[in-house]
């Protein structure tokens, strides 16, 4: 499970409890803590630039409205990711048949110095392009494991599967990416 204790402040559980008592500041802190990771995950999973903000916003809205549904044995982040993943899946189903934007079309802000990270970025983009060719579960397991650093237990919670299945999806994803990414 991801660390949720507070080197940087109160734990997620404490913030959730505060939100349940009506603290809007606690909700704001949870958004600050998890929004970037959720955004990266959804973009990596194929969410387009026009939809990712809506998906992230809706994920938090649903999470706060349905906070009683969070089982404390999984991390708040993995639960949030499960909401985001399901919303993205629903969006994809509704838009099936629509032209899918390639990652080069992603119009996301870049706040880093491109010169020093160009090579790494290019490789990451090739991997992201390879990810689009994987089945959804393989793609999302890879992202949650590699990009987000979740352990298999949290990945299983986030994607509604088992630890064993998450491991299998991960190794299938690696095997396929070895073929797909030059």
């Amino acid at each position: 499970m991801l660390p949720v204790t507070g080197l940087d402040g109160p734990t997620d559980a404490a913030l959730v409890a505060a939100w349940q008592r009506g603290s809007e500041q606690a909700a704001t802190d949870l958004v600050r803590r998890h929004a970037s990771a959720l955004t990266r995950f959804l973009v990596g999973a194929g969410a387009g630039p026009s939809e990712v903000e809506d998906l992230v916003q809706e994920s938090f809205f649903k999470a706060f409205r349905g906070i009683d549904g969070w089982r404390r044995e999984s991390s708040f982040r993995s639960w949030l990711f499960s909401i985001g993943s399901n919303l993205h899946k629903d969006t994809y189903r509704r838009a099936r048949g629509r032209v899918v934007l390639s990652i080069e079309d992603h119009d996301v802000a870049d706040h880093r110095d491109p010169a020093s990270e160009l090579v790494a970025d290019e490789t990451a983009m090739r991997i992201q392009a390879g990810l689009t060719k994987l089945p959804r579960l393989q793609r999302e397991v890879f992202l949650l494991r590699v990009q987000q650093g979740l352990d298999y237990g949290d990945i299983a919670d986030a994607l509604g599967t088992t630890v064993g299945a998450a491991r299998v999806h991960y190794h299938h994803a690696i095997r396929r990416l070895k073929e797909l990414v030059p």
């Binding site: 809007e24 909700a27 704001t28 958004v31 600050r32 929004a35 970037s36 955004t39 990266r40 995950f41 973009v43 990596g44 990712v52 903000e53 992230v56 916003q57 938090f60 809205f61 706060f64 409205r65 992603h106 996301v108 802000a109 870049d110 706040h111 880093r112 790494a120 970025d121 490789t123 990451a124 991997i127 992201q128 990810l131 890879f142 992202l143 494991r145 590699v146 990009q147 650093g149 690696i174 990416l177 070895k178 990414v181």
Partner: protein, 166 residues
């Protein structure tokens, strides 16, 4: 050091939360399979690394919605199916009439074979199957002559209840 152990450590090292041990570095240098995986995992940690949102604006929008949008009543999907199945099972029981008095008390009423509380976990096709299984006795049996629960004796009611529990 095995390839599996090496693989398990890769995400943490790629994200900068750990460093290779000497044994791991050595394994990586002589194992082509692990090197190929590492070549994916290391840059994979940076996938979509440039994707950002204005988090403060996002938080404000979420809070605004939480303040202004009414809370939707909690829906219980397929609850009506459970109710229908329960009603159908009652009709099924009653339409078969009371067993002869000589029969020993017990599970005289066969259950539908459906775990009713478990219906929430069924898929659409499985629910359809359940519906079809409860449709048959409902439509094939006239309920006009069937006694209602109010007409049953305590003993008969107890038998019906046992049938449901089995």
């Amino acid at each position: 050091m095995t390839c599996h152990e090496q693989s398990e450590r890769m995400p943490a090292v790629a994200r900068g939360n750990a460093a290779w041990t000497l044994a791991e570095a050595e394994h990586l240098s002589r194992c082509a399979d692990c090197r190929a995986e590492w070549a994916l995992v290391m840059p994979g940690a940076a996938v979509a690394g440039n994707a950002t949102l204005d988090v403060e604006a996002l938080a404000a929008k979420v809070l605004h919605r939480l303040r202004t949008e009414p809370v939707a009543p909690r829906r219980r999907p397929f609850r009506w199916v459970v109710g229908l199945a329960a009603a159908a099972s009652v009709v099924l029981v009653l339409s078969r009439g009371s067993p002869p008095a000589s029969l020993p008390p017990g599970p005289a009423v066969p259950p539908l074979g459906v775990d009713l509380p478990g219906l929430d976990g069924l898929g659409t096709s499985e629910l359809q199957t359940v519906l079809e299984s409860v449709d048959a006795p409902w439509t094939e049996t006239s309920t006009a002559d069937a006694p209602s629960l109010n007409d049953l004796t305590d003993q008969e009611l107890a038998r019906v209840a046992r049938g449901w529990e089995n």
